[in-house]
């Protein structure tokens, strides 16, 4: 438990920073909603959007022509950018967790204590999940609060909250997938300075795979390799999270976690 507590304590500051930035962004996006709804922006936007090639619309999650005068659809659109930042944060929580101790040499302290390597991994996973959950909860609460303020009177509050719950559950799920993969990266990379570029690179590569899968029918199988597309906000508000995507996420998480344990238990620490 002491490792868990220490990990949470060490990561607390970063959660606060990420939360503050994302909450502010969210606030900015949502505060634009009333003007979006009232000023006939939707018409304007629609004409402009129709002029774009479909591939581009797809790339930005605009293909199904979201109705920006509806709060949920507007939010789902802006939310996908926050979600990108958020799942990258989840991935980084994982990919830094193990290798940081090696690159900074602190493993020489930690592993000189009477602990098993597997326990170090377990405690760090618990701590990272806790921190990420905290981040998601802060984001969800702040989104709901702000949305209540800008919500049109005809929108049922309960419906809105349920919709948000779905969006944030998807966000949490995708975040955990990237975190689990991040942990596997952390067990493998030779140095901490590689953890961040590899994680961010992996996110964008898989995200692009997901977009290709939408654009080119032959490549549709690629969507299984883009965790972000397991819970694409625009789809989630319309269709919910598909059970197949949940299963796929669990498979990714399980495989990555098993790989993490196997490698970490046998690795020579680089000191």
């Amino acid at each position: 438990m002491n490792i868990y507590k220490m990990e949470v304590k060490k990561g607390f500051k970063s959660v606060l920073i990420w939360s503050v930035i994302c909450v502010l962004l969210n606030l900015l996006f949502l505060s634009m909603f009333p003007s979006m709804k009232d000023s006939g922006m939707q018409e304007l936007l629609k004409t402009k959007l129709d002029a774009f090639p479909p591939a581009l619309l797809n790339a930005f999650g605009l293909d199904d022509a979201p109705d920006f005068s509806k709060l949920e659809e507007y939010f789902a659109y802006v939310f996908q950018y926050l979600m990108m930042a958020g799942v990258i944060y989840g991935g980084l929580l994982g990919s830094k967790a193990l290798i940081k101790e090696e690159s900074e040499g602190t493993i020489e302290f930690l592993y000189a204590q009477p602990v098993k390597r597997s326990k170090i991994v377990t405690m760090k996973i618990f701590a990272a999940v806790t921190l990420f959950a905290l981040f998601v909860i802060i984001m969800a609460l702040s989104s709901i609060l702000v949305s209540l303020a800008v919500k049109p009177s005809d929108l049922n509050t309960m419906d809105m909250i349920l919709n948000y719950k779905l969006l944030f559950s998807g966000f949490f799920m995708v975040g955990l997938v990237f975190m689990a993969v991040g942990f596997a990266i952390s067990a493998v990379v030779p140095h901490l300075r590689l953890a961040m570029p590899i994680t961010i690179g992996l996110f964008f590569v898989t995200y692009l795979l997901g977009i290709f899968s939408d654009l080119i029918d032959k490549l549709s199988f690629l969507k299984y390799f883009s965790p972000f597309h397991f819970a694409m906000p625009a789809d989630v508000v319309k269709q919910g999270i598909k059970s197949g995507d949940i299963v796929l996420s669990l498979v990714f998480i399980t495989v990555a976690t098993v790989v993490t344990y196997i490698i970490y238990r046998k690795k020579n620490f680089r000191l």
């Binding site: 900074e104 040499g105 302290f109």
Partner: protein, 294 residues
């Protein structure tokens, strides 16, 4: 009973670093010095003992338990001071010591306070503010708080000022009296010979020699430098000169035989210069290894 038992341990590791067929036994209650130049394999051996790295072949046991499979049990009774202390920068010294404490079954609070005083550790300072030497002091306190049965110290004197070095050895000797076994590495035999019971010399990953310090550390030996017109190497060897080196007309050698014989021999020649020094055998011992590229 052996506290540490290393048999035929090999670790292939990078290009040059690593150890080959290292075998060692460290007995209960002794201070065992592990001596060798930087890069000889001291830290590699210690890292295998603590399971930071896995052996390529051979095995190591501590308290009769396997260093790979039972490392967590072994570590309940080990204190470790790394050669280069790197701790969590954002923590204060107190937080770090408390963190270390949280892993141990039993910590004697009074002893911990006493250690902090002895080593002059400032509890409320941040780790990032500490100099290398001060970090090392924290590491020493951290390694001792649970009164472990075995202390493993990797170059413990590195970065410590002479006063603290002395305090360290006083503390170690006290721990030894209470039955603690101490395994310490150093690149300088002279520095530790006063405190060690036995030493192993390691060079290029291989154990060169294991000796009891009493065998040679306190014995004195004469180191003679002689300059004369004629080369009398053979004659000197005949009366027991060892480690002869001839350089620029000077002959340097170690001599432990009858000084009268030596004086009788050289009186026959015209002497330009003569220097007789008294050296500890261990110093001579070191120079041999240095001469071989140590």
């Amino acid at each position: 009973m052996s506290v540490i038992e290393i048999s035929n341990l090999t670790k292939a590791y990078g290009k040059k670093r690593g150890i080959t067929n290292v075998s060692l036994k460290v007995n209960k209650g002794e201070i065992f010095g592990f001596i060798g130049p930087n890069g000889a394999g001291k830290s590699t051996t210690i890292k295998v003992l603590l399971n930071f790295i896995f052996p390529s072949s051979g095995e190591a046991k501590i308290f009769g338990m396997d260093c790979v499979t039972e490392t967590d049990k072994i570590k309940e009774n080990i204190g470790y001071v790394p050669s280069e202390v790197r701790y969590y920068d954002n923590m204060t010294v107190e937080e770090l010591l408390n963190y270390a404490k949280s892993f141990k079954k039993q910590v004697d609070e009074d002893y911990m306070k006493e250690l902090c005083q002895t080593f002059d550790v400032e509890l409320n300072k941040k780790i990032s503010e500490l100099s290398l030497g001060n970090k090392k002091k924290v590491a020493i306190v951290q390694a001792l708080i649970h009164k472990p049965a075995l202390l493993i110290l990797d170059e413990p004197t590195n970065g410590l000022d002479p006063l603290i070095q002395q305090k360290l050895f006083v503390t170690l000797l006290k721990a030894k009296e209470e039955g603690t076994t101490i395994f310490l590495s150093s690149h300088n035999l002279m520095e530790v010979e006063e405190f060690c019971d036995r030493v192993a010399i390691i060079k290029e990953g291989k154990i060169v020699d294991v000796r009891s310090i009493e065998e040679f550390a306190h014995k004195k030996i004469k180191r003679i430098t002689l300059k004369l017109s004629k080369n009398i190497e053979k004659e000197l060897k005949a009366i027991g000169a060892e480690g002869l080196v001839v350089e620029g007309g000077k002959i340097t050698f170690s001599f432990n035989g009858d000084i009268n014989k030596f004086l009788g021999l050289i009186s026959k020649y015209e002497i330009e210069d003569l220097l007789i020094e008294e050296k500890k055998l261990s110093e001579v011992f070191m120079t041999y290894y240095e001469g071989e590229g140590m």
